[in-house]
Point group: C2
Chain length 410, copies 2
């Protein structure tokens, strides 16, 4: 008999409880042992069939030696970090859907888990119900992974999709997403890219073996994306997506960013719509491999947490292989800039003068362009170039009031 505790009974936590209790036979079948949800930690009161399992005191879980697996689905760093650490130190396996916790403290918690020979698993922290972390660590074990990128946040993908398909502006699309429950009342974590940032940290740490901290990732949200950008992108054969990206560069360093990016319509990621997520992994042997599915939602995320619980139980007496080192200040090269095509828009009051300066100064780096006289705006795609080189050229222009640069995946 395996006793399990669940910390947190919000959207994901109640989903985990429901799967473990309502589909108990299914889980028992998979692990070939009896499974029992013994404690559920939450400060709130719930009127559910399994009300007798609730506690408001973490020590009921920590000090119950019969509990061997704990699911942390509270979210946030405090008190989740202290609780998870205490459980691991007590020799309990922990699974979590908490991307903020893993992105901030993953290396430390993995180290403790390995020392105690228990599991610390977090499949649900990236891509909700999409299996992606375990396939990266298991199935791609024969590969050296050198690049990861993807659509890691369903809320922003939904908003951008509404802008692209329904010509809705950012504010209206955000409002709709909030009304439908796809975006929080305070949408900053999603629309400013912080959620995607945590996920690219976790993916990068797992793929390259060294922790990447959120503040090392150049993070931009989608709040500045206009319907004009969407239309220009379409003309350039692309759609705008919020892309988390990381890649190995020289000297064992990596680059990492979350940025609105023009993705070529011919790439499979251009077809990832609505709240769906997708992660592309580039291995030296497999080439490009992608994982796709709903990146959030109660059932999908809860099923990933339960998948981890099953894994903990199956591998209780087995050596744990999931591991990465602590990060370091200079591991992520924040100054490195790849040579790639860039999307640029320029605005100026005097459109004739802007056009003149554009063709005299920028024609050698411009690959294709759109002149929008109604908006006094020029949009263009550069030839493959270093971003800082392009920025220097743009800041030297005299007729430009403002400019915008987006990455591309062509």
């Amino acid at each position: 008999m395996i006793n399990i505790a669940i910390m947190g009974h919000g959207v994901v936590g109640s989903g985990v409880a429901e799967i473990l209790i309502n589909h108990n036979d299914r889980i028992k079948n998979r692990v070939k042992q009896d499974i029992n949800v013994k404690h559920i930690l939450d400060l709130r009161d719930f009127n559910v069939a399994y009300s007798d399992k609730f506690t408001k005191d973490f020590n009921d879980i920590l000090n119950d030696d019969s509990v061997s697996v704990v699911a942390e689905v509270m979210g946030g760093i405090t008190p989740a970090y202290d609780f998870v650490k205490a459980c691991l130190l007590k020799g309990k396996s922990v699974v979590t859907s908490n991307k903020e916790l893993v992105a901030a403290k993953g290396a430390e918690l993995i180290k403790i888990a390995n020392e105690k020979n228990v599991s610390f698993l977090f499949e649900a922290s990236v891509g909700g119900g999409i299996p992606v972390l375990r396939p990266i660590s298991n199935c791609l074990a024969a590969n050296e992974i050198d690049e990861i990128w993807g659509i890691l946040n369903g809320t922003t993908n939904y908003i951008l999709n509404k802008m692209i398909v329904d010509n809705m502006d950012f504010a209206s699309a955000l409002k709709l997403a909030q009304d439908l429950g796809f975006a929080e009342r305070n949408p900053a974590a999603d629309v400013e890219g912080h959620d995607a940032c945590r996920k690219i940290c976790i993916l990068s740490a797992l793929a390259y073996g060294k922790h990447v901290y959120p503040d090392q990732v150049k993070t931009e949200g989608i709040t500045e994306i206009t319907l004009d950008d969407v239309e220009y992108a379409d003309n350039f054969g692309a759609v705008i997506k919020l892309i988390g990206h990381s890649k190995k560069v020289e000297n064992g360093k990596i680059i990492a960013s979350v940025r609105p990016t023009l993705v070529s319509r011919s790439h499979i990621l251009a077809g990832v719509n609505g709240v769906f997520n997708a992660v592309v992994v580039n291995g030296d042997q497999t080439g490009e491999v992608a994982f796709y599915g709903k990146g959030a939602g109660k059932e999908a995320t809860a099923s990933a947490v339960v998948g981890d619980i099953i894994d903990c139980i199956k591998n209780q007496n087995n050596e744990k292989y999931l591991t990465w080192e602590d990060g370091s200040a200079d591991y992520v090269d924040t100054r490195y800039s790849e040579s790639s095509p860039l999307y640029v828009t320029l605005k100026g009051d005097d459109f004739a003068a802007l056009k003149g300066e554009f063709s005299s100064v920028l024609s050698d780096i411009c690959d294709s362009h759109i002149m929008n006289e109604y908006k006094n705006e020029i949009a263009f795609i550069t030839k493959p170039n270093n971003e800082s080189f392009v920025k220097d050229k743009l800041t030297a222009l005299k007729t430009v009031n403002s400019y915008k640069i987006l990455h591309t995946m062509f």
Copy 2:
């Protein structure tokens, strides 16, 4: 020290040998043990750096008790089946890329492996380098899977893609695929759907827990697909793909097929081009999850084989969970027909009469249609209907010389 034998030194086998020998440090790191390729079985002679490892006698492998893991990459049933069975019975773990073998003998070989508590793994048999079998059995463990479908054969996807994008007819696209090495000189296994059939058998067995035999799967190839079909499909907002499909229906039975199918352009699978494969899995908790990547190729397939070897070594002393029952004659319901939209073309010598009969007899089941007077042909999409019902209607028509029905995934 783990000693490994490789049976077969063709495209995949040489790839496996190269990864294990040239990237030995990488693999050692992953399994935390020394890895040694001890024997390579092949009747041919090879002039390679590791020529000393070759043998022409299977008994050198079978009777070498120091060999604990064997990679079977010969292909075909004979002698692969006898060799694999003998190795398992001797207590050696076996990994294979041989879809024909797994589709024909999987249940039996898994049973032997479980009895001997060794591994029998075959990730490379479906989707080449795409992790799909292990994610299905591990990460989706908390799910009940009720449907699987996908593009399971890269050769036919390449040919159809050439027809769609470059307006090349089937024969020319096949010739090009052969010239580029994407299709065999004898292309029957690919273009007639047998390769995809084996893969849907394996996927279904794993997902639903019971063996599905290739002769239980309704299998149609792409040889009858014309450029007109491609164009009609485009008008109906779809692309034609060769889709392997299986689904749970009533009474614990399933349906299984490989058929050319119209896939809506709005679905992510419509964007899977060239030799790429993609598998969609529908779980009751996760909803739709998809796996995408190169379905074939030396490095990709070899890396999946090596991933399985790593898994065998890591789990040597662990209980094995991969399992499914033997199949049965009535498990696959071959008469069951889903009610879904169908794509139909009708040809007749007297086009005016054909049009007349179409509108008088078929207008109630027709959702949208295209009249092609140049070819005396009508193409239409039915309202959701049972295929046998539609067929009965078509065979009763007096003005029709021939008709064609394709499935749809709208």
